[in-house]
Symmetry: C2
């Protein structure tokens, strides 16, 4: 399988694009801000501009989206809290019309799981759960080597597992979701509740790096909730690996010991020791690479 795929990570804030080859090497990685309230034609125009800059001759387009993507996805973007201005747009058809090429779309967290399983931390692992810690918490579940998307593309929405039954109201409508306790947003909130004057999780991590005792308490609390959720999944799904990705995974050293302790004390001993907790190694590129992988498999007629 030769040739290139034009792969893009479409988020609420940025559009990142690169040309990816069949081995996962990429070139011409560029990033552009997605304008607030971007309209569908403006989004396509932005994509066209970046594609022209990359100037590759791709065999397919591969896009992540912050939206549910079932296996038989028709291309219509729905449930886009961070990109609501393009709700209802058929991204797949618009890209096919614009570029005259096959288009593959994956949910961003599912794509990250595919990427890490392709050439990242969980390479060669058949059963894993990838967690994306960002503004929210997403996830991708790989079972028998295949991403589990579910009939509505909601498979892997582990950020909305309950960890405090009478806890904080989540923007999803539920109460006590782990996203409210272990996302980058939650790290900043917990820090503020502990009196820290920080605006985001990166600042809390910087404080932790500097030996701040309060920051240590914040990450212990956040890591514990992440561990409660992962212990539940270790028992329910018995994965071989738990891969932590996303922006807040930069603070890995700060929260991972607490997360691991919680998994070890809560999950069945065999489930806990089987589910190796690791940090993702593809960083921001996990999703972009993962959806490129899906596109290569689609071109080869092997996508699952």
């Amino acid at each position: 399988m030769e040739g290139l795929v034009l792969a893009a990570d479409l988020g609420g804030t940025n559009l990142r694009m690169a040309a990816v080859d069949h081995g996962g090497s990429f070139s011409h990685l560029i990033k552009r801000r997605v304008p607030p309230n971007v309209s569908p034609p403006e989004l396509i125009e932005l994509i066209r501009t970046l594609a022209a800059e990359i100037s590759a001759s791709p065999r397919a387009l591969a896009f992540t989206a912050p939206a549910p993507v079932p296996f038989d996805f028709d291309g219509v973007l729905t449930k886009l809290p961070n990109l609501s201005s393009v709700t209802g747009m058929n991204l797949k058809r618009a890209l096919e019309d614009e570029f005259g090429l096959p288009v593959v779309i994956e949910n961003d967290a599912t794509a990250a799981a595919i990427g890490e399983t392709w050439i990242g931390a969980s390479r060669g692992i058949s059963n894993s759960i990838t967690v994306t810690l960002g503004t929210g918490i997403g996830g991708g579940i790989i079972i028998d080597g295949k991403p589990h998307r579910g009939p509505d593309g909601i498979g892997g929405e582990i950020g909305h597992i309950t960890v405090e039954p009478n806890g904080r109201r989540c923007k999803c409508g539920s109460i006590g979701c782990v996203e409210e306790y272990a996302s980058a947003t939650a790290i900043a909130r917990i820090a503020q509740e502990h009196g820290m004057k920080t605006r985001d999780s990166a600042e809390v991590y910087a404080a932790w790096m500097g030996g701040d005792a309060t920051a240590a308490i914040v990450f212990t609390e956040m890591g514990r909730y992440l561990g409660i959720m992962l212990a539940s999944l270790a028992n329910a799904i018995n994965p071989e690996m738990l891969v932590i990705c996303g922006g807040a995974s930069a603070a890995w050293e700060a929260f991972a010991p607490s997360t691991q302790a919680e998994i070890s004390s809560r999950a069945y001993p065999r489930a806990a020791s089987r589910a190796r907790l690791v940090k993702g190694i593809l960083g921001d590129n996990a999703g972009l690479l993962g959806v490129a992988r899906s596109a290569f498999l689609e071109l080869a007629g092997e996508r699952v």
Copy 2:
């Protein structure tokens, strides 16, 4: 695929056995008490006696066990809280030696999920979660039509999903497992905490049937916790159906409305409406029939 399978449900209290045909019809169902602290030779002798009573000419033996059963199960029973006297026994080899026939063993809750998917409530459904509500809570997860056993046979241990992070100590070693809040054991305990003079969940259900207001509170509380766990799984796995089996499912009318309300208010709307909550229809025979199905698939070289 003609012929019969001799199928058995091996529990901590009873051994139930029947001859099952390839369509799921069964005959000669018999039940015998498993003696406390049964030894491996005594267990084989009990099985031999029941098999002789059934007097079929089976093509294979199919056994459920209250133990983890990974896909490449070697037959050794481990982690048997309710049948600890046979821990370490190789049940598969012992039965092969005794009967000279192929032997298939499944975890009891996994078998119930296979049974309900074969000829029960989730017949023809590719993605489902079956919950067995008994002394404890077990589960079986069917993904793309296949039972998800996991590398250690722990896949489906949904009874040990955390629903109260600082809650009751569970006998598994964790804290706040749903098994402590929604099993038959939990129903009796919650009832006693509310001042009811009941020994078991069946009595609480009898009181509910008689219009007892306290029993209604008990089942609302128990059903709510079951719903919290299932809402988490509806988001994480996006199943098409949630099947409630096991002894305590007899109280379905008492707790199901509370469970459904919790799923509807917590899970993503699409995940909640997709995951149809139903009562199993095979009753006590779900596991026995499910493992018989596995044996027929094994004989046909199609077991997954």
